[in-house]
Symmetry: C2
Subunit: 177 residues, 2 copies
DNA sequence: TGAAATAGAGTGATCGTTCTATCTATAAAA
DNA sequence: TTTTATAGATAGAACGATCACTCTATTTCA
């Protein structure tokens, strides 16, 4: 991948996540990424296409982060707790402003169908991933609700408090599974 | 409260919730509420102040909705489940696009401190309300995570599925309380 | 008679996007 | 090694549309 392209994606991801999609203009992204306006438009046809590619980029980052942390986790008897811990580490490292996918869907609900579709696809993808780890459909949904809850709670609550509440809930819900 | 003022608040609440704060312009609100531009500005000094008053309005609506539904709920042995059911009814009636407070905080994170402060205040208010129902601090946080999770999951998942997963989780977490 | 609401023009700023004209850097041809 | 050709990146002006907000002049209604 082109270095310029990567610079744009990283600046856009940071700005959009911190301030929202409609609140951040193309000029801000260009300025932050040290790239010219035309270079951005040579790589991305439009703002909406940039957002779509950003969501691809972020899904890949989240999934590989989870994979790595789950495989490194030493807990052996509780898969859900392994995944929850990995998700908690993701939140702690990157994300105190909600789920970027849900936020994209919320902002483009009545404006850009491809973005909304992409978000639904992502959430389905995560559920499928949980099932591929060996959870049942119902367990996947149940864990998914916990993951979403932790992400939201972390927006307004001290992260160590969220960790304790989140992991103990998951532990209770999935013990002796 | 003035009728015109009420009209503006209702139109703004609907539009902001459906499409986001930055995505909706004042002209759209004026147009939807059948009120003139100057009338809006006579009632609300600025867009940000309108949003702040909207959050007041919505907090009041949510709290009284919860109070009514909790008191009418016939479950006698599980307070958390009563509250969860009431929250589920709120989601089903009004809210398939996330938590309006979190969305306000996300969009105004680096732009308007009073809005961000108001959102933190709201979340603290909800926790306090849960405690005033008789839950411990830890139980309140635990239930709060479930409420946030249900709100988020309802954005991309069939509402009856959310209801089943949500209520069964709360039931497991709070049984024999 | 006086206060409130109206429509609509006007403010300067910013939006996403396009265009132009200049510059840089690498690679092929001399 | 020098010249030329090609492609990519640059800054910045310009587009029409919209942003939040103000002002004015007129109308409605108690």
């Amino acid at each position: 991948m082109s270095k310029k392209r990567q610079d744009v994606l990283e600046a856009a991801e940071c700005l959009f996540y911190e301030e929202g999609f409609h609140a951040v203009g193309i000029k801000r992204i260009v300025s932050k990424s040290n790239v010219s306006l035309m270079t951005l438009y040579n790589h991305f046809e439009s703002k909406e296409i940039l957002i779509l590619e950003l969501l691809d980029h972020r899904e890949q980052a989240y999934v590989s982060f989870l994979k790595n942390h789950v495989s490194q986790n030493k807990i052996t008897d509780n898969l859900a707790l392994k995944i929850a811990t990995a998700h908690m580490n993701w939140l702690e490292a990157n994300s105190f402003n909600g789920c970027m996918f849900l936020r994209a869907k919320e902002e483009y609900q009545n404006e850009c169908e491809p973005i909304v579709d992409r978000v639904h696809q992502h959430k389905k993808f995560v559920i499928d991933m949980l099932e591929s780890y060996g959870l049942s459909t119902e367990e996947s949904l149940r864990l998914s609700l916990q993951l979403e809850g932790a992400t939201a709670l972390a927006e307004t609550t001290d992260i160590q408090t969220v960790r304790a509440v989140f992991l103990s809930s998951v532990n209770t819900l999935f013990k002796a599974s």
